[in-house]
Symmetry: C2
Subunit: 228 residues, 2 copies
Protein backbone atom coordinates (compact mmCIF):
# COMPACT_ATOMS: atom_id res chain seq x y z
CA UNK A 1 0.00 0.00 0.00
CA UNK A 2 2.94 2.41 0.42
CA UNK A 3 3.21 2.88 -3.33
CA UNK A 4 -0.45 3.85 -3.77
CA UNK A 5 -0.88 7.36 -5.20
CA UNK A 6 -4.39 7.27 -6.61
CA UNK A 7 -7.49 5.93 -4.86
CA UNK A 8 -10.57 5.22 -6.93
CA UNK A 9 -14.00 5.27 -5.36
CA UNK A 10 -16.97 3.58 -6.90
CA UNK A 11 -19.91 6.01 -6.82
CA UNK A 12 -23.33 4.32 -6.48
CA UNK A 13 -23.75 2.47 -3.18
CA UNK A 14 -20.18 3.31 -2.17
CA UNK A 15 -20.33 7.11 -1.84
CA UNK A 16 -24.10 7.41 -1.78
CA UNK A 17 -27.20 5.23 -1.71
CA UNK A 18 -28.49 4.25 -5.13
CA UNK A 19 -29.68 0.68 -5.47
CA UNK A 20 -32.77 1.27 -3.35
CA UNK A 21 -33.99 3.89 -5.90
CA UNK A 22 -33.73 1.23 -8.61
CA UNK A 23 -35.60 -1.25 -6.39
CA UNK A 24 -38.29 1.35 -5.70
CA UNK A 25 -38.75 1.99 -9.45
CA UNK A 26 -38.73 -1.73 -10.19
CA UNK A 27 -41.42 -2.29 -7.59
CA UNK A 28 -43.62 0.34 -9.25
CA UNK A 29 -42.92 -1.35 -12.58
CA UNK A 30 -43.92 -4.80 -11.27
CA UNK A 31 -47.13 -3.32 -9.87
CA UNK A 32 -47.92 -1.64 -13.19
CA UNK A 33 -47.40 -4.98 -14.93
CA UNK A 34 -49.61 -6.95 -12.51
CA UNK A 35 -52.49 -6.89 -15.02
CA UNK A 36 -50.34 -9.09 -17.24
CA UNK A 37 -47.98 -11.11 -15.07
CA UNK A 38 -47.24 -11.91 -11.42
CA UNK A 39 -44.59 -9.60 -9.94
CA UNK A 40 -41.79 -12.15 -9.75
CA UNK A 41 -42.23 -13.04 -13.43
CA UNK A 42 -42.07 -9.36 -14.44
CA UNK A 43 -38.90 -9.06 -12.37
CA UNK A 44 -37.32 -11.97 -14.24
CA UNK A 45 -38.41 -10.61 -17.63
CA UNK A 46 -37.01 -7.15 -16.86
CA UNK A 47 -33.68 -8.63 -15.79
CA UNK A 48 -33.60 -10.63 -19.05
CA UNK A 49 -34.16 -7.49 -21.13
CA UNK A 50 -31.52 -5.56 -19.18
CA UNK A 51 -28.93 -8.28 -19.76
CA UNK A 52 -29.76 -8.42 -23.47
CA UNK A 53 -29.40 -4.64 -23.79
CA UNK A 54 -26.22 -4.06 -21.78
CA UNK A 55 -23.91 -4.38 -24.78
CA UNK A 56 -26.02 -1.85 -26.70
CA UNK A 57 -27.18 0.54 -23.98
CA UNK A 58 -24.60 0.22 -21.23
CA UNK A 59 -25.50 1.12 -17.63
CA UNK A 60 -27.47 3.87 -16.00
CA UNK A 61 -31.00 5.12 -15.63
CA UNK A 62 -31.71 5.87 -19.30
CA UNK A 63 -30.79 2.30 -20.23
CA UNK A 64 -33.00 1.09 -17.38
CA UNK A 65 -36.01 3.13 -18.59
CA UNK A 66 -35.61 1.82 -22.14
CA UNK A 67 -35.41 -1.75 -20.88
CA UNK A 68 -38.56 -1.29 -18.76
CA UNK A 69 -40.44 0.05 -21.80
CA UNK A 70 -39.29 -2.86 -23.97
CA UNK A 71 -40.22 -5.38 -21.29
CA UNK A 72 -43.65 -3.80 -20.77
CA UNK A 73 -44.47 -4.03 -24.48
CA UNK A 74 -43.31 -7.65 -24.63
CA UNK A 75 -45.07 -8.97 -21.54
CA UNK A 76 -48.29 -7.08 -22.28
CA UNK A 77 -48.13 -8.57 -25.80
CA UNK A 78 -48.43 -5.07 -27.19
CA UNK A 79 -51.53 -4.16 -25.20
CA UNK A 80 -49.94 -1.69 -22.78
CA UNK A 81 -51.37 1.80 -23.28
CA UNK A 82 -49.29 4.89 -23.94
CA UNK A 83 -50.32 6.08 -20.51
CA UNK A 84 -48.57 3.00 -19.08
CA UNK A 85 -45.45 3.83 -21.11
CA UNK A 86 -45.62 7.42 -19.87
CA UNK A 87 -45.71 6.19 -16.28
CA UNK A 88 -42.57 4.15 -16.91
CA UNK A 89 -40.79 7.18 -18.39
CA UNK A 90 -41.77 9.10 -15.27
CA UNK A 91 -40.47 6.36 -12.94
CA UNK A 92 -37.12 7.03 -14.61
CA UNK A 93 -37.35 10.82 -14.53
CA UNK A 94 -38.16 10.62 -10.81
CA UNK A 95 -35.02 8.56 -10.26
CA UNK A 96 -32.91 11.19 -12.00
CA UNK A 97 -34.31 13.78 -9.63
CA UNK A 98 -33.80 11.99 -6.30
CA UNK A 99 -31.85 13.49 -3.40
CA UNK A 100 -28.39 12.14 -2.71
CA UNK A 101 -27.87 10.48 0.66
CA UNK A 102 -24.29 9.77 1.65
CA UNK A 103 -23.18 6.38 2.91
CA UNK A 104 -22.35 6.46 6.63
CA UNK A 105 -18.75 7.31 7.40
CA UNK A 106 -17.70 8.17 3.84
CA UNK A 107 -17.05 11.83 4.60
CA UNK A 108 -14.63 10.96 7.42
CA UNK A 109 -12.73 8.66 5.08
CA UNK A 110 -12.44 11.36 2.42
CA UNK A 111 -11.34 13.94 5.00
CA UNK A 112 -8.61 11.62 6.25
CA UNK A 113 -7.34 11.00 2.72
CA UNK A 114 -7.39 14.64 1.67
CA UNK A 115 -4.05 15.89 0.35
CA UNK A 116 -2.38 12.51 0.79
CA UNK A 117 -3.72 10.80 -2.32
CA UNK A 118 -5.27 11.78 -5.64
CA UNK A 119 -8.90 10.75 -5.30
CA UNK A 120 -11.04 9.92 -8.32
CA UNK A 121 -14.58 8.62 -8.78
CA UNK A 122 -14.68 5.58 -11.09
CA UNK A 123 -18.12 4.73 -12.38
CA UNK A 124 -19.84 3.07 -15.29
CA UNK A 125 -23.02 5.12 -15.00
CA UNK A 126 -24.07 8.14 -17.04
CA UNK A 127 -21.61 11.01 -16.69
CA UNK A 128 -24.32 13.66 -16.45
CA UNK A 129 -26.20 11.72 -13.78
CA UNK A 130 -23.05 11.03 -11.76
CA UNK A 131 -21.91 14.66 -11.97
CA UNK A 132 -25.30 15.80 -10.78
CA UNK A 133 -25.08 13.43 -7.82
CA UNK A 134 -21.54 14.52 -7.02
CA UNK A 135 -22.65 18.16 -6.87
CA UNK A 136 -25.76 17.33 -4.84
CA UNK A 137 -23.67 15.21 -2.46
CA UNK A 138 -21.44 18.14 -1.54
CA UNK A 139 -18.39 15.92 -2.18
CA UNK A 140 -17.39 17.63 -5.43
CA UNK A 141 -14.28 19.32 -3.97
CA UNK A 142 -13.01 16.08 -2.49
CA UNK A 143 -12.28 14.48 -5.85
CA UNK A 144 -9.84 15.34 -8.60
CA UNK A 145 -12.26 14.23 -11.29
CA UNK A 146 -14.78 11.57 -12.35
CA UNK A 147 -13.65 8.69 -14.52
CA UNK A 148 -16.41 7.14 -16.60
CA UNK A 149 -15.66 3.64 -17.88
CA UNK A 150 -17.93 1.71 -20.21
CA UNK A 151 -17.36 -1.52 -18.27
CA UNK A 152 -15.36 -2.28 -15.15
CA UNK A 153 -13.16 -5.08 -16.44
CA UNK A 154 -9.39 -5.70 -16.64
CA UNK A 155 -9.11 -4.04 -20.03
CA UNK A 156 -10.88 -0.85 -18.96
CA UNK A 157 -8.92 -0.60 -15.71
CA UNK A 158 -5.68 -0.96 -17.67
CA UNK A 159 -6.82 1.89 -19.93
CA UNK A 160 -7.57 3.88 -16.80
CA UNK A 161 -4.03 3.28 -15.47
CA UNK A 162 -2.58 4.57 -18.75
CA UNK A 163 -4.95 7.50 -18.60
CA UNK A 164 -3.88 8.35 -15.02
CA UNK A 165 -0.21 7.75 -15.90
CA UNK A 166 0.29 5.30 -13.05
CA UNK A 167 1.09 1.61 -12.66
CA UNK A 168 -1.56 -0.72 -11.19
CA UNK A 169 0.60 -1.01 -8.04
CA UNK A 170 0.00 2.68 -7.45
CA UNK A 171 -3.77 2.26 -7.53
CA UNK A 172 -6.34 1.20 -4.93
CA UNK A 173 -10.04 0.87 -5.60
CA UNK A 174 -12.88 0.93 -3.06
CA UNK A 175 -16.34 -0.27 -3.92
CA UNK A 176 -19.35 -2.37 -3.09
CA UNK A 177 -19.09 -4.73 -6.07
CA UNK A 178 -16.58 -7.56 -5.98
CA UNK A 179 -17.17 -8.16 -9.67
CA UNK A 180 -16.66 -4.56 -10.81
CA UNK A 181 -14.59 -2.79 -8.19
CA UNK A 182 -12.37 -5.48 -6.74
CA UNK A 183 -11.65 -8.53 -8.92
CA UNK A 184 -10.46 -6.74 -12.08
CA UNK A 185 -8.29 -4.36 -10.02
CA UNK A 186 -6.65 -7.35 -8.27
CA UNK A 187 -6.19 -9.01 -11.65
CA UNK A 188 -4.17 -6.15 -13.08
CA UNK A 189 -2.03 -5.78 -9.91
CA UNK A 190 -3.81 -3.07 -7.92
CA UNK A 191 -5.37 -3.07 -4.46
CA UNK A 192 -9.05 -3.86 -3.95
CA UNK A 193 -11.16 -2.87 -0.93
CA UNK A 194 -14.64 -4.31 -0.69
CA UNK A 195 -17.28 -2.50 1.35
CA UNK A 196 -20.54 -4.42 0.90
CA UNK A 197 -23.85 -2.64 0.47
CA UNK A 198 -26.92 -4.27 1.93
CA UNK A 199 -28.44 -4.88 -1.50
CA UNK A 200 -26.42 -5.68 -4.61
CA UNK A 201 -27.84 -5.90 -8.11
CA UNK A 202 -27.99 -9.54 -9.15
CA UNK A 203 -25.73 -8.83 -12.16
CA UNK A 204 -22.95 -7.67 -9.80
CA UNK A 205 -22.99 -10.64 -7.46
CA UNK A 206 -20.04 -12.97 -7.11
CA UNK A 207 -20.40 -16.21 -5.22
CA UNK A 208 -16.83 -17.02 -4.35
CA UNK A 209 -14.36 -16.52 -1.55
CA UNK A 210 -11.48 -14.25 -2.48
CA UNK A 211 -7.98 -14.83 -1.18
CA UNK A 212 -5.40 -12.41 -2.43
CA UNK A 213 -2.59 -10.39 -0.78
CA UNK A 214 -3.95 -7.15 -2.19
CA UNK A 215 -7.55 -7.82 -1.17
CA UNK A 216 -9.16 -6.25 1.87
CA UNK A 217 -12.64 -7.00 3.11
CA UNK A 218 -14.14 -4.15 5.12
CA UNK A 219 -17.41 -4.16 7.05
CA UNK A 220 -17.99 -0.45 6.53
CA UNK A 221 -16.31 2.53 4.82
CA UNK A 222 -14.78 3.91 8.05
CA UNK A 223 -12.69 0.75 8.39
CA UNK A 224 -10.58 1.98 5.48
CA UNK A 225 -8.95 4.47 7.84
CA UNK A 226 -6.97 1.61 9.42
CA UNK A 227 -5.09 1.12 6.13
CA UNK A 228 -3.91 4.69 5.52
Amino acid sequence: MQDVRVIGFDADDTLWHNEHYFLEAEKKFWELMEDFLPQHTSARELMKTEMQNIALYGYGIKAFILSMIETAIRISEGTITSSGIEQIVNFGKDMLDKPVELIDGIEDVLTALDGRYKLVVVTKGDLLDQERKLVKSGLEDRFHHIEIVSEKNDHEYLKLMRHLDITPGEFAMIGNSLRSDVLPVLNIGGYGFHVPYHTTWEHEQVHAKIEHDNFFQLARAADFLAYI
Copy 2:
Protein backbone atom coordinates in the same frame (compact mmCIF):
# COMPACT_ATOMS: atom_id res chain seq x y z
CA MET B 1 0.58 27.14 -31.36
CA GLN B 2 4.17 26.21 -30.39
CA ASP B 3 3.10 25.55 -26.79
CA VAL B 4 0.33 23.11 -27.74
CA ARG B 5 0.87 19.62 -26.29
CA VAL B 6 -2.59 18.13 -26.39
CA ILE B 7 -5.01 18.20 -29.31
CA GLY B 8 -8.66 17.38 -28.68
CA PHE B 9 -10.85 16.05 -31.46
CA ASP B 10 -14.59 16.22 -31.35
CA ALA B 11 -15.98 12.81 -32.37
CA ASP B 12 -19.35 12.96 -34.13
CA ASP B 13 -19.17 14.76 -37.50
CA THR B 14 -15.50 15.57 -36.96
CA LEU B 15 -13.92 12.09 -36.97
CA TRP B 16 -16.88 10.26 -38.48
CA HIS B 17 -20.30 10.97 -39.93
CA ASN B 18 -23.09 11.00 -37.39
CA GLU B 19 -25.69 13.72 -37.84
CA HIS B 20 -27.16 12.08 -40.93
CA TYR B 21 -28.08 9.00 -38.85
CA PHE B 22 -30.01 11.25 -36.49
CA LEU B 23 -31.71 12.92 -39.46
CA GLU B 24 -32.56 9.52 -40.92
CA ALA B 25 -34.16 8.40 -37.63
CA GLU B 26 -35.99 11.72 -37.26
CA LYS B 27 -37.40 11.35 -40.75
CA LYS B 28 -38.76 7.91 -39.86
CA PHE B 29 -40.21 9.41 -36.69
CA TRP B 30 -41.94 12.23 -38.59
CA GLU B 31 -43.41 9.69 -41.01
CA LEU B 32 -44.66 7.56 -38.13
CA MET B 33 -46.30 10.65 -36.63
CA GLU B 34 -47.98 11.73 -39.87
CA ASP B 35 -51.31 10.28 -38.71
CA PHE B 36 -51.32 12.96 -36.01
CA LEU B 37 -49.36 15.95 -37.27
CA PRO B 38 -47.67 17.29 -40.39
CA GLN B 39 -43.95 16.45 -40.51
CA HIS B 40 -42.62 19.94 -39.81
CA THR B 41 -44.78 20.21 -36.68
CA SER B 42 -43.54 16.87 -35.36
CA ALA B 43 -40.02 18.09 -36.01
CA ARG B 44 -40.62 21.20 -33.92
CA GLU B 45 -42.28 19.20 -31.13
CA LEU B 46 -39.40 16.73 -30.98
CA MET B 47 -36.87 19.56 -30.80
CA LYS B 48 -38.90 21.10 -27.97
CA THR B 49 -38.87 17.84 -25.98
CA GLU B 50 -35.15 17.37 -26.57
CA MET B 51 -34.35 20.85 -25.26
CA GLN B 52 -36.55 20.29 -22.19
CA ASN B 53 -34.81 16.99 -21.44
CA ILE B 54 -31.17 17.97 -21.98
CA ALA B 55 -30.58 18.95 -18.36
CA LEU B 56 -32.02 15.63 -17.20
CA TYR B 57 -30.93 13.22 -19.94
CA GLY B 58 -27.85 14.83 -21.48
CA TYR B 59 -26.81 13.94 -25.04
CA GLY B 60 -26.66 10.78 -27.06
CA ILE B 61 -28.90 8.21 -28.67
CA LYS B 62 -30.62 6.92 -25.51
CA ALA B 63 -31.69 10.46 -24.61
CA PHE B 64 -32.90 10.86 -28.20
CA ILE B 65 -35.01 7.67 -28.08
CA LEU B 66 -36.61 8.71 -24.78
CA SER B 67 -37.44 12.14 -26.19
CA MET B 68 -39.00 10.60 -29.32
CA ILE B 69 -41.18 8.35 -27.15
CA GLU B 70 -42.30 11.25 -24.98
CA THR B 71 -43.05 13.40 -28.04
CA ALA B 72 -45.01 10.60 -29.70
CA ILE B 73 -47.23 10.14 -26.64
CA ARG B 74 -47.82 13.89 -26.38
CA ILE B 75 -48.62 14.63 -30.01
CA SER B 76 -50.77 11.52 -30.43
CA GLU B 77 -52.62 12.62 -27.27
CA GLY B 78 -51.98 9.21 -25.82
CA THR B 79 -53.36 7.27 -28.78
CA ILE B 80 -50.09 5.91 -30.16
CA THR B 81 -50.01 2.11 -29.94
CA SER B 82 -47.29 0.12 -28.25
CA SER B 83 -46.29 -1.09 -31.69
CA GLY B 84 -45.57 2.55 -32.57
CA ILE B 85 -43.45 2.90 -29.43
CA GLU B 86 -41.65 -0.29 -30.31
CA GLN B 87 -40.81 1.10 -33.75
CA ILE B 88 -39.32 4.19 -32.11
CA VAL B 89 -37.18 2.05 -29.80
CA ASN B 90 -35.97 0.17 -32.87
CA PHE B 91 -35.10 3.41 -34.73
CA GLY B 92 -32.74 4.05 -31.83
CA LYS B 93 -31.33 0.53 -31.66
CA ASP B 94 -30.63 0.71 -35.40
CA MET B 95 -28.68 3.92 -34.86
CA LEU B 96 -26.53 2.25 -32.21
CA ASP B 97 -25.70 -0.45 -34.71
CA LYS B 98 -24.72 1.69 -37.72
CA PRO B 99 -21.37 1.38 -39.49
CA VAL B 100 -18.79 4.11 -38.88
CA GLU B 101 -17.74 6.14 -41.93
CA LEU B 102 -14.71 8.36 -41.49
CA ILE B 103 -14.71 12.00 -42.51
CA ASP B 104 -12.54 12.60 -45.58
CA GLY B 105 -8.93 13.39 -44.82
CA ILE B 106 -9.11 12.73 -41.07
CA GLU B 107 -6.74 9.75 -41.19
CA ASP B 108 -4.02 11.80 -42.90
CA VAL B 109 -4.31 14.46 -40.24
CA LEU B 110 -3.98 11.90 -37.44
CA THR B 111 -1.01 10.25 -39.16
CA ALA B 112 0.76 13.60 -39.44
CA LEU B 113 0.16 14.37 -35.75
CA ASP B 114 1.25 10.95 -34.49
CA GLY B 115 4.00 11.11 -31.88
CA ARG B 116 4.13 14.91 -31.92
CA TYR B 117 1.08 15.59 -29.74
CA LYS B 118 -1.07 13.77 -27.22
CA LEU B 119 -4.34 13.22 -29.03
CA VAL B 120 -7.63 12.80 -27.18
CA VAL B 121 -11.25 12.47 -28.24
CA VAL B 122 -13.50 14.96 -26.44
CA THR B 123 -17.20 14.20 -26.68
CA LYS B 124 -20.43 14.73 -24.82
CA GLY B 125 -22.09 11.59 -26.14
CA ASP B 126 -22.50 8.24 -24.43
CA LEU B 127 -19.15 6.69 -23.53
CA LEU B 128 -20.21 3.19 -24.57
CA ASP B 129 -21.50 4.40 -27.94
CA GLN B 130 -18.41 6.52 -28.61
CA GLU B 131 -16.05 3.69 -27.66
CA ARG B 132 -17.90 1.36 -29.97
CA LYS B 133 -17.53 3.86 -32.80
CA LEU B 134 -13.86 4.41 -32.05
CA VAL B 135 -13.21 0.67 -32.29
CA LYS B 136 -15.31 0.33 -35.46
CA SER B 137 -13.54 3.32 -36.99
CA GLY B 138 -10.13 1.67 -36.73
CA LEU B 139 -8.79 4.89 -35.14
CA GLU B 140 -8.53 3.47 -31.61
CA ASP B 141 -4.71 3.36 -31.61
CA ARG B 142 -4.41 6.95 -32.74
CA PHE B 143 -5.80 8.40 -29.51
CA HIS B 144 -4.50 8.39 -25.96
CA HIS B 145 -8.02 8.15 -24.56
CA ILE B 146 -11.60 9.40 -24.79
CA GLU B 147 -12.70 12.29 -22.60
CA ILE B 148 -16.43 12.37 -21.93
CA VAL B 149 -17.76 15.73 -20.76
CA SER B 150 -21.36 16.33 -19.71
CA GLU B 151 -21.46 19.67 -21.52
CA LYS B 152 -18.90 21.47 -23.68
CA ASN B 153 -18.76 24.80 -21.88
CA ASP B 154 -15.99 26.91 -20.27
CA HIS B 155 -16.41 25.21 -16.91
CA GLU B 156 -16.13 21.68 -18.30
CA TYR B 157 -13.13 22.57 -20.51
CA LEU B 158 -11.38 24.05 -17.48
CA LYS B 159 -12.03 20.81 -15.59
CA LEU B 160 -10.59 18.97 -18.58
CA MET B 161 -7.41 21.11 -18.46
CA ARG B 162 -6.98 20.24 -14.77
CA HIS B 163 -7.66 16.62 -15.59
CA LEU B 164 -5.03 16.62 -18.38
CA ASP B 165 -2.60 18.60 -16.19
CA ILE B 166 -2.06 21.28 -18.83
CA THR B 167 -2.80 24.98 -19.20
CA PRO B 168 -5.36 26.11 -21.78
CA GLY B 169 -2.49 27.58 -23.87
CA GLU B 170 -1.22 24.02 -24.32
CA PHE B 171 -4.54 22.82 -25.72
CA ALA B 172 -6.06 22.96 -29.21
CA MET B 173 -9.51 21.65 -30.08
CA ILE B 174 -10.83 20.66 -33.50
CA GLY B 175 -14.52 20.23 -34.18
CA ASN B 176 -17.53 20.98 -36.29
CA SER B 177 -19.45 22.95 -33.68
CA LEU B 178 -18.52 26.57 -33.04
CA ARG B 179 -20.70 26.53 -29.93
CA SER B 180 -19.24 23.39 -28.36
CA ASP B 181 -15.78 22.87 -29.81
CA VAL B 182 -14.50 26.36 -30.49
CA LEU B 183 -16.01 29.24 -28.48
CA PRO B 184 -15.52 27.81 -24.95
CA VAL B 185 -11.95 26.75 -25.80
CA LEU B 186 -11.15 30.28 -27.04
CA ASN B 187 -12.78 31.69 -23.90
CA ILE B 188 -10.50 29.80 -21.56
CA GLY B 189 -7.36 30.64 -23.59
CA GLY B 190 -6.93 27.61 -25.86
CA TYR B 191 -6.85 27.26 -29.64
CA GLY B 192 -10.00 26.50 -31.63
CA PHE B 193 -10.15 25.01 -35.11
CA HIS B 194 -13.52 24.88 -36.81
CA VAL B 195 -14.15 22.34 -39.56
CA PRO B 196 -17.81 22.69 -40.58
CA TYR B 197 -19.96 19.68 -41.32
CA HIS B 198 -22.58 20.00 -44.02
CA THR B 199 -25.43 19.60 -41.53
CA THR B 200 -25.31 20.90 -37.97
CA TRP B 201 -27.94 20.20 -35.33
CA GLU B 202 -29.98 23.35 -34.75
CA HIS B 203 -29.02 23.37 -31.06
CA GLU B 204 -25.33 23.69 -32.03
CA GLN B 205 -25.66 26.54 -34.50
CA VAL B 206 -24.05 29.91 -33.84
CA HIS B 207 -24.94 32.87 -36.00
CA ALA B 208 -22.00 35.18 -35.48
CA LYS B 209 -18.66 35.97 -37.03
CA ILE B 210 -15.72 35.04 -34.85
CA GLU B 211 -12.58 37.13 -34.74
CA HIS B 212 -9.94 35.89 -32.35
CA ASP B 213 -6.17 35.40 -32.57
CA ASN B 214 -6.49 31.74 -31.52
CA PHE B 215 -9.35 30.96 -33.91
CA PHE B 216 -8.83 29.14 -37.18
CA GLN B 217 -11.53 28.49 -39.75
CA LEU B 218 -10.79 25.46 -41.92
CA ALA B 219 -12.70 24.32 -44.97
CA ARG B 220 -11.86 20.67 -44.37
CA ALA B 221 -9.91 18.51 -41.91
CA ALA B 222 -6.86 18.19 -44.16
CA ASP B 223 -6.28 21.95 -43.94
CA PHE B 224 -5.18 21.45 -40.34
CA LEU B 225 -1.89 20.08 -41.65
CA ALA B 226 -0.82 23.63 -42.58
CA TYR B 227 -0.76 24.58 -38.89
CA ILE B 228 1.45 21.81 -37.54
